[in-house]
Symmetry: C2
């Protein structure tokens, strides 16, 4: 996979000078210092990502939703039926999922990518007669690395080569989207049972205990949660034994190795989007736990990629908070969302646009002063 190694070698740090110029510009605005709160830090980050101040205002956001299935599903970590991933994908392709609705509201395109589903969903594609194309429905990109992962409790979820290919999928998608004019990438994922590998990756990378990063996913019972925590712990113990490290030292493993051990394919693809966005100097808005697990993999492979990230929201999944702390990200929204699909990332798009726009369009103290009449 020369292309991934090439990408990693070419990835540059964000532009600290542009961030400083943004902070300086914000200080000149006609407002009390710091009164735009998180919008100011976000504006500086966007300048640093773009390498100029003011940064461009993203006009063509896109959410890339990666789908994959998980061998660990067979452990009983999700109340959903097998085939739920395919149903979710079909729903997005028909335009009726939450991510479609939110994307329409914020003017974002939706791309669905099969990175490794067990089934193959037929793209309704040209059969549609609504004439509204991609903005109404999702578009399906077939990029299946393999049909679901293996069970992370008993064996590596993926081979190292498959793990790297999944990252390559996201990297290629990001590249293509930016080539097509996308200037803000939002990550999303779907996959029945995928909060289990995501929590495992978060635990491995951040060092937080499994119990602290494992949540209720799609709404599981106390009993199933205990089972899920045990599954995450078993997986981490298996990986630690296989690599002769302590379970508390799993963060010493490389990002692609952790991805191959724990999965999954959509998480790897998100990692690729993060790397691809950073390479093209386009900000990447990450969504919930699955996306953040992908971001952790990306940042382990390319630490400089962290500064290209924007955290769309604080998911209800506890592992999301662990991941954001590790990545130094402050979420824009905190609305108890826990759906995935990119919904929380997409909902934050207008805030990202506003932060960039403020840097372009606010008056500075020099040009705001006007004579005010004292007559009534």
């Amino acid at each position: 996979m020369a292309s991934l190694d090439d990408a990693l070698s070419r990835l540059e740090p964000v532009d600290a000078d542009a961030a400083e110029a943004a902070a300086h510009r914000q200080a000149s605005f006609t407002k009390p210092d710091g009164s735009l709160g998180a919008l100011e830090a976000l504006g500086s980050r966007l300048a640093a990502v773009a390498g100029r101040c003011p940064p461009p205002v993203p006009a063509h956001p896109v959410v890339a939703v990666f789908a994959g299935d998980h061998g660990v599903f067979s452990e009983g970590v999700s109340p959903w039926p097998e085939g739920a991933t395919a149903e979710m994908v079909a729903n997005v392709l028909k335009g009726g999922a939450a991510i479609n609705v939110i994307a329409r509201q914020v003017g974002a395109a939706v791309v669905v990518v099969d990175a490794g589903m067990v089934t193959t969903v037929p793209d309704p594609g040209d059969a549609s007669t609504d004439g509204d194309g991609e903005t109404r429905r999702g578009r399906l990109v077939a990029a299946k690395v393999r049909a679901g992962t293996a069970n992370l409790v008993v064996e590596p979820a993926l081979s190292l080569e498959e793990a790297r290919r999944s990252i390559q999928v996201g990297l290629s998608i990001a590249d293509r989207l930016v080539d097509q004019g996308s200037d803000l990438l939002v990550t999303g994922e779907m996959g029945a049972g995928n909060t289990t590998p995501a929590a495992a990756i978060v635990a491995a990378v951040t060092g937080w205990p499994a119990r602290a990063v494992t949540g209720r996913g799609s709404g599981i019972s106390d009993e199933m949660l205990d089972k899920k925590i045990a599954v995450v712990e078993s997986g981490l113990e298996r990986v630690a034994a296989a690599h002769s490290v302590a379970t508390t030292a799993l963060s010493s493993l490389d990002g692609d190795v952790l991805l191959s051990e724990l999965g999954g394919l959509e998480i790897g693809a998100v990692a690729g989007v993060v790397i691809g966005g950073a390479l093209r100097r386009v900000p990447v808005v990450v969504d919930g736990l699955g996306s953040l697990a992908g971001a952790l993999v990306a940042v382990k492979l390319a630490p400089a990629a962290a500064d290209y990230l924007v955290a769309g929201h604080r998911s209800v999944e506890p592992g999301a908070t662990a991941a954001m702390e590790h990545l130094g990200l402050e979420p824009l929204l905190d609305m108890r969302l826990g759906l995935g699909e990119g919904t929380g990332g997409c909902l934050a798009v207008p805030i990202v646009q506003a932060a960039a726009r403020l840097l372009s369009e606010m008056a500075t103290s020099g040009d705001a002063a006007v004579p005010a009449s004292t007559e009534e």
Copy 2:
């Protein structure tokens, strides 16, 4: 003011049946229960406000920014120069304030209302040659009740008649905006020193101590903060003495009485927008401390108005949190904003739109199921 009394007598509760229909509809969506978090409660509220499910998706949001000056400014509660209010208004009219930029981003119109400034700012109006009208610049509505309030420490900020006229200003503006097609009202305010009367109103209505609801406004020093807290306490003691009640029992006073005692004119006007929006069954998104003080006044006059409110964000001002708790509101954003102008309310507009849109456009479990092929 027969018109205000008439409005208060005609204000109806929100429609609980529509809220229940929304909750029922959300339960039928193809997603885990509750996984859209605060968007679900918001959707139900919008249905209740509109009296139908799904509620309309607001397509014509407007932010009404009320400006007023304050006699208490002379106590030294703000680091800004006298005349700052006029400069802020002029900046909005030129389109260079934060509220203009955010409103442009979310597609909201901006209306600036002089509810009681000391000075009068000339509207650049027709002199503009950018041909872009209200969406680029603000529009100024002259509705000055009086030129600033009196000093709340030494006397009532307003007469009762003036206080009620300021509410009437907001009520009329809301009515006119809805007549013109606005379907989502966002409140904003500007006024040098106005976090002092706002904090005093919050303390009086919620019963929280002055120290707990008084913040740094536009960024004041520790010393000035102590002064500001003492000023709020003095004001509350004066009012308590004047009405022969304990300072802890000020919430027994009527909303218009508290407004007259503490001010200010822009706070009263926001109260009028809240009542006017409720009367027209249009949701009202409130911004920070000044807007929330207005909402408290409105809800004291018309308790049913509380259910028409949406809290755009959690301002850094501690009194905002006190007010939201009292009003039973959960803020949509928490981004450490502290600018006022309606900025945090306006930034939440796409979230309100998305919440309504989800109820209209998400597929229900009945229509989402599709056969998924198992071939690869």
